[in-house]
């Protein structure tokens, strides 16, 4: 089954990248499974907040196609600036993390499960952008 990475890269059945990805079907299954669990499952974070954070993380990684994928469902909320500030640190300067950064999220009303969801989401989009760029580099074959 094609996953979100196939869709974003326009990987055609029978192409070089399709053949390479077919060797590890569980990568496709679990990438799509992660996408669904992070964006479509119930959470204390609204879907609009989740897509807004994902869009911004994609932009920080120069992934315009991934940002465009999230843009239509992204929306604002009063605490969105707090979520985005955390996302920026986690994406660009993960070594600057402190307990105070986590405390700022709980002070904004996030439960521990919400903080886990937010962190997983940001880290997952960082995974995706490396997969997307790496796959693109292999596109032409030898």
């Amino acid at each position: 089954m094609p996953d979100v990475l196939d869709e974003l890269l326009g990987i055609a059945p029978g192409s070089h990248l399709d053949a390479l990805r077919s060797l590890r079907p569980d990568v496709r299954n679990a990438t799509q499974g992660s996408e669904d669990a992070i964006f479509n499952a119930p959470s204390g974070l609204t879907p609009a907040e989740r897509h807004a954070v994902a869009r911004q993380v994609a932009l920080w990684n120069d992934s315009a196609a991934l940002a465009a994928h999230h843009a239509p469902k992204a929306g604002d909320s009063p605490r969105l600036p707090v979520l985005l500030a955390h996302a920026e640190m986690l994406t660009l300067r993960p070594h600057e993390a402190t307990p105070a950064a986590v405390a700022a999220l709980t002070a904004a009303g996030l439960s521990p499960a919400d903080v886990v969801m937010l962190s997983q989401l940001i880290a997952y989009v960082n995974y995706q952008t490396r997969m997307l760029h790496g796959l693109k580099l292999l596109e032409g074959g030898v």
């Binding site: 990805r21 990568v27 669990a37 993960p94 521990p112 903080v115 886990v116 997952y124 960082n126």
Partner: protein, 192 residues
């Protein structure tokens, strides 16, 4: 700590503690217990897994992905995947991740002297040309994905790597872009 790298880097075994409340394993739902069992042999006593299982389905998918990328058969050798993961963990500044994967690389018959230098000196440490190519590519792809180029791919192919092996290195780097960020930002390492 003002920087997660301030802890220092080591190949010694480290522990990790969460900055947030973790699940009391006695209170786990049947689904949470199942996800813990699928994730790691020691997940039920690990702060990391007991924290993440509060979003059980996300952890289930992450663990499935991690296991197929790092342990799946064929493709890139497991030490090449561990080398990529270790280089990225050193670069991102995740002492816990580096200690685990530096040990695994050596257990898989990687070069112990190379890993010792990488742990102590960083990703610029002296190493053979093939390892250098894997580390340089991994560091570029993890730092800013667009910094990795077709030239890197050509270099790896020049060492005889097939595209399915290069894709395994890419997947390992992508997986540790995920894993480092959780370990670095939800808790911290300590010595037992």
């Amino acid at each position: 700590m003002s920087n997660t790298a301030d802890f220092g880097f080591t190949a010694d075994t480290l522990e990790w503690k969460s900055w947030l409340p973790v699940l009391d394993v006695a209170q786990a739902t049947p689904d949470q217990a199942k996800v813990l069992e699928e994730s790691h042999p020691k997940a039920k006593t690990s702060d990391y897994y007991l924290l993440l299982v509060q979003e059980a389905e996300v952890l289930r998918q992450r663990s499935k992905l991690f296991n197929t990328i790092m342990y799946g058969p064929r493709g890139a050798s497991r030490q090449d995947r561990e080398l990529a993961a270790s280089a990225e963990s050193r670069m991102n500044g995740c002492p816990y991740c580096l200690s685990v994967h530096a040990q695994r690389y050596v257990q898989l018959k990687g070069d112990p002297a190379l890993m010792d230098r990488l742990v102590k000196e960083g990703t610029g440490a002296e190493m053979d040309a093939r390892s250098r190519a894997i580390v340089d590519f991994s560091v570029r792809l993890s730092e800013t994905p667009a910094a990795a180029t077709a030239e890197d791919i050509a270099t790896l192919r020049g060492f005889g790597m097939k595209d399915e092996e290069i894709l395994d290195v890419i997947s390992s780097v992508a997986m540790f872009a995920w894993a480092n960020r959780l370990m670095q930002t939800l808790g911290e390492p300590y010595r037992a």
